[in-house]
Amino acid sequence: MLQEHAKIIQFISLAEQVTGRKKLQKMIFIAKKMNFPFAERFRLHMYGPYSEELTLRVEELCEMGFLEETYIHKGSYNQYQYEVSEEGVHFLETMTEKNNELQPVIEQMQSKTSRFLELVSTLLYFDHLQQEEQIEKVHIVKSKLKFTDEEMKEAFDFIHKLEGLAV
């Protein structure tokens, strides 16, 4: 009955910890795009694909005590860090099967910056378009981030690598 909550806990458990709400949003969106069964729906917002449902789910999980949220000061900005609590681990044991195929996808994403994942997820948001149109769209909706050609290439290479790990 709380299966969708369990999937988010499992994701963060496999990642061990996720730093940044934005990063968590982008990682789940990308995983969903790689056909992992997350139910949250995403729309394009300020930082690319964003799910209000996911924000809510994470807040609920913190309220339930299954996730620990830590507020970190990082000089000019602040970030939230998420880890699974002991209670969350117990909950997970009663709820769901392990999804081992998710682990390598998470590892790939964990090593990337939020900015890069924002680019990758925004490209994937427009994946119904031709590659050139995808790039054009990203330049329109992310004009202030000024992504370079090298970053675009790296992002497409990364997407191809993830597609090899998709389910």
Partner: protein, 430 residues
Amino acid sequence: MGYKNEKLKEEKVFKDPVHRYVHVRDKVIWDIIGTREFQRLRRIRQLGTTYLVFHGAEHSRFQHSLGVYEIVRRIIDDGFSGRPEWDEEERLVTLCAALLHDLGHGPFSHAFENVFDLDHEEFTQKILLGATEVNAILRKVSDQFPQKVADVIDKTYPDKLVVSLISSQIDADRMDYLQRDAYYTGVSYGHFDMERILRVMRPAEDQAVVKSSGMHAVEDYIMSRYQMYWQVYFHPVSRSAEVILKKVLHRAKYLYETGYQFGQAPVHFETFFKKEYDLEDYIALDEGVVTTYFQMWTKEQDTILSDLSARFLNRRLFQYVEFNPAAEYKKLQQLEVLFNQAGLDPEYYLVVDSSSDLPYDFYRPGEENERLPIFLQMPNKELREISRSSDVVDAISGKRRTDHKLYFPEDLLQTGENPLYKEIYEMLNK
């Protein structure tokens, strides 16, 4: 003069209980309203199952769409037109996007999308860009025009000011639905001084802003929104109806997938059950079609489908108790076991439903929120995020309220003969 700028010989007006009149002068707008895809919105209620609680809430998405159009028309024609920040070339695309922003909504949208894994915003895009009457009208403006309208609705349009009129924390969509839903439900919340907000709304680089003298009207709007969510949109009884509606659709889908022979073939649903639907299948659905099937399903052999369908049609809804998932998830698991032992499938008869709302959220540099805040334009033209000036808004900013309820068939548990029912009922109410 091209089709883009063509005006009707005489202005057309729709009588409207919220805005008094909706004024149409543009030929494109008039033609869109006449298309079958737009007329279909007459057959889809704005508030889904809420009419089972507030009996007046029978108003349609057609009315709301006209209302959003009218508000945007007034913002542009009475407020923005002639100001240097506003590009007059964007007028028609903005009006069309306002009129068409909900075009892809299906019958009982929320439940239907949930069960069949659909997204009404994707269908809005498909109707705008596919082989439809709406697309034919938009293409008469230019080949690129349907895509431009679609981009505004998808929030990927380059001019963010245009997008903000349709989709932001103070947009025409919200201003219409709050007032319209308040009017039709008959509640006293939901009212605010829209005239004042429209008078003080100004175009800025990336979004519409509000002159600081209009701050109190915006406070009122935000509080109205807060009240409407908890008094109307998340009313626990309409959520009960929504829970049953979803379960009816789930059951019908499950039966189809497992080879059950329906008394009457569910022709309109078959492509959705098989995930092979196309745009025509989607457009063919409306709430009349769905409830007709529910009527037929009350006569089905499958007792779960017939019971749930009858419950929905005859408003024999589930009862609810407060539920705390963190503290009670083990109790929920025990209840599921008991339901199974009592011959009640918990998948259909024991349902957790959650609602949550954030009345206003703000973004300040260095934070990670995703919503564009409401800005006040100070007398020196400086922009200031509203919660920095308003104690009222500051008090509720960023404060999410969440509510979980556990739904179950109390009538059955109280009157049924199974000895386990009493034990379940006592456990639910412990």
